[in-house]
């Protein structure tokens, strides 16, 4: 592994999160859209989402969306201002903080539900 610094990891996470969200989006569109095949079909698909792996996956997707969104903002600021390049590192730590908070926040909501079994 190349021992790059913040910028390298920011890029890698941005790409991974982007692809992950895209993957999730594709599933999401398919499942939500599937109600045109009728209620039965729709509900069958949605019941599979209740499985624990899916619920935990959702945690990461939420954090990923937040990371990707705010890091996207960081990228835009870098692209259009000199300030952005100069403070990219600090901004990245800000983005990471927000993502972690989002992860914890959704965990607070989701974990009890998993444990509670509904």
């Amino acid at each position: 592994m190349y021992r790059g610094r913040e910028g390298q990891w920011a890029f890698l996470l941005h790409r991974l999160s982007g692809l992950a969200i895209l993957f999730y989006l594709m599933l999401h569109v398919f499942s939500i859209g599937s109600f045109i095949f009728g209620e039965r079909f729709y509900m069958t698909i949605h019941e599979t989402y209740d499985l624990v792996p899916f619920r935990i996956g959702l945690l990461f997707v939420t954090a990923g969306v937040v990371y990707h969104a705010f890091n996207g903002l960081r990228i835009i600021v870098m692209d259009f201002t000199g300030f952005g390049v100069a403070y990219q590192r600090q901004m990245w730590y800000g983005v990471m903080l927000l993502s972690v908070l989002a992860f914890i926040g959704s965990a607070i909501v989701v974990v009890p539900r998993i444990l509670g079994g509904y």
Binding site: I21, L25, G33
Partner: protein, 125 residues
């Protein structure tokens, strides 16, 4: 041994603004998506689990044309944004020309189908 490329060689490079336009699109759509998606996530966050999105809940909400449009904007922008983002990755990681062509072909088809499917779904309620 290298033979230096000449002025004319270099000048003959093709010209197109496609990459520039995609680059700008990624930023603009990103900015808009930022509000749309964070709003969407926030609003649906209480549900959190997909099973909360029951048939009725979804149908009710989407009865409102404003929400229809909101969701359709998310659908189209994020599919385009995501598809172009994935194209970047494909062009980076799929190095053989023929492979790249069919991977891209399959991928774009899937995106287009999903887009059609989602749109039909949204407006058929």
């Amino acid at each position: 041994m290298i033979r230096a490329r000449t002025f004319t060689d270099a000048r003959q490079q093709a010209h197109s603004n496609a990459e520039l336009h995609w680059w700008i699109f990624m930023r603009i759509s990103g900015l808009i998506l930022m509000f749309l998606i964070l709003g969407h996530v926030y609003m649906t966050f209480i549900q959190v689990s997909e099973s909360d999105a029951t048939f009725d809940a979804v149908v009710n909400k989407l009865a409102n044309p404003a929400w229809k449009f909101y969701n359709w904007l998310i659908l189209s922008l994020s599919l385009l944004h995501g598809a172009n983002g994935a194209r970047y990755s494909i062009e980076d990681y799929v190095r053989s020309r023929p492979n790249r062509a069919w991977v891209k072909g399959v991928f774009y088809t899937v995106i287009a189908l999903l887009f059609a499917f989602g749109t039909v779904g949204l407006f058929s309620i």
